[in-house]
């Protein structure tokens, strides 16, 4: 389990050349095996050929858009890890992406350091499954992992366990809010975002989620927090 983590081949799917280039360059430094695809069709073809462990996927592409790619990928490779690349202020579709198991988003533009950090974190996430589930931080990570694998019931369970472990921190409430929002319960979701903020008025992800759902800000994504 440990050995396979961090070195799985990565597929970069984006219609823009500069993004493909930037990402390839950034990940090169990590000694990862990377490949690129310019559109959905090419991505699916390459996925059938090689056991990629992670896709970096742009949602907005001409032709088959990123959401459709994600849907099809989930059918054949439910286990594959996904990082969604988004443009600024574009993310009402984030909810839909999350329903397909994508929990990690990176917004353009991003620094090489940023994408490297996120890829490392996502590729290493599997090791948590081996670890015993205890402690607030672990439950939070497991919750995110369950969301990734579309096990929403389990995700809620982990969020609740996190709250049981430490009810004074905002992250779990924010995640719970997100899960509720995804199940269509906006009002309950907002209560949880407010709860997160009551615990820590400076916790930005909850603030962003609340502003987004109360319609005060245009655009902005679902904030899961780090």
């Amino acid at each position: 389990m440990e050995a396979s983590c961090g070195k799985e081949p990565v597929l970069i799917v984006d219609d823009e050349k500069n993004i493909r280039l930037t990402l390839t360059q950034a990940l090169e430094a990590m000694e990862l095996d990377t490949d690129t695809a310019v559109n959905g069709e090419e991505a699916l073809a390459k996925l059938a050929d090689k056991p990629f462990g992670l896709i970096l996927l742009d949602l907005r592409m001409p032709g088959m858009d990123g959401m459709e790619v994600l849907r099809r990928v989930r059918q054949t490779r439910p286990d594959i890890k996904v990082i969604i690349i988004t443009a600024y202020g574009s993310i009402e579709s984030a909810v839909e992406a999350m329903k397909l198991g994508a929990v990690d988003f990176i917004q353009k533009p991003f620094a090489p350091k940023e994408i490297r950090g996120l890829v490392t974190k996502v590729l290493n996430r599997d090791t948590l499954q081996a670890a015993k589930a205890k402690g607030y931080g672990t439950h939070i990570e497991l919750a995110k992992k369950c969301i990734q694998q579309q096990q929403f019931e389990a995700a809620q369970e982990h969020t609740r366990q996190a709250i049981a472990a430490d009810a004074t921190r905002p992250e779990a409430f924010n995640l719970l809010g997100v899960l509720l929002e995804m199940s269509g319960n906006k009002l309950e979701a907002q209560k949880n975002y407010r709860a997160a903020l009551a615990l820590d008025p400076t916790y930005k992800p909850a603030d962003e989620n609340l502003s987004r759902t109360t319609g005060l800000t245009a655009g902005g994504g679902i904030s899961l927090g780090r």
């Binding site: 209560k191 407010r194 709860a195 903020l197 009551a198 008025p201 400076t202 609340l210 109360t214 005060l216």
Partner: protein, 220 residues
């Protein structure tokens, strides 16, 4: 006081009028020729036509002897430059900039320039986040460091009938005044809160939600 204002439009016109009425001496710097002529005609102010962020124009407008400089142009970058020049080059004791982008207020302060944002003031008057009818007049004061709120005590409030000393108000919040039956009470520890009281609450933004919750019992 000798006040130098950089900017134009109705806000500047009425500001000039206000300052003049208070007996201050006013000079206006404005980039628009027409507006300069009009202002000179209508008000007893000295008008200088030019770019207020240009040292030479500030000099011409008497920045050396000014007690205050107000930069009220539509461009935050010009307001910043004007105030920094005024303080650093002309040693004007008080230089204040309007920030159009409310996010810039904090940065300007960091750069040593006093700044105010009308956007934030107006937005907070129609603040939606609290969603409670009893809460009105949210006025940020002291450069945004303090909130002054008036809260009407609702019938289902958890603190109706309680005395002030029994309230669990968070740190950095204070009930300054209670307006009851047309009278203003300065409350003490044994003052009891009644339904219908209009409570003037002073808080720091960070504790604002909690303080409101303590009084009204609502999630905010």
């Amino acid at each position: 006081m000798k006040v130098l204002i950089v900017g134009g439009g109705k806000p500047v016109y009425f500001l000039c009028r206000t300052f003049l009425a208070k007996g201050h001496e006013v000079t206006v710097i404005n980039r628009d020729q027409q507006e300069c002529v009009q202002m000179a005609r209508r008000l007893k102010v000295t008008v200088v036509h030019g770019d207020g962020s240009d040292q030479r124009i500030l000099e011409e407008a008497g920045a050396h002897g000014a007690d205050a400089v107000l930069a009220i142009t539509p461009n935050d970058q010009d307001n910043l430059a004007i105030c920094q020049l005024a303080s650093l080059q002309f040693q004007v004791p008080r230089a204040v900039a309007l920030v159009n982008d409310p996010d810039n207020e904090a940065v300007f302060q960091k750069l040593g320039v006093a700044a105010f944002s009308t956007t934030r003031t107006i937005a907070s008057l129609i603040e939606q986040r609290t969603a409670l009818d009893e809460i009105t007049n949210l006025i940020p004061a002291a450069e945004g460091k303090v909130n002054i709120t008036e809260v009407r005590l609702p019938a289902d409030s958890p603190v109706a009938g309680k005395s002030l000393r029994d309230l669990a108000l968070p740190a950095h919040s204070l009930i300054a005044v209670i307006l009851r039956n047309g009278q203003a009470l300065v409350p003490r520890g044994d003052t009891q809160l009644q339904v219908g009281d209009r409570i003037v609450l002073i808080t720091l933004p960070v504790n604002h939600g909690q303080a409101l919750k303590a009084i009204t019992g609502e999630e905010s």
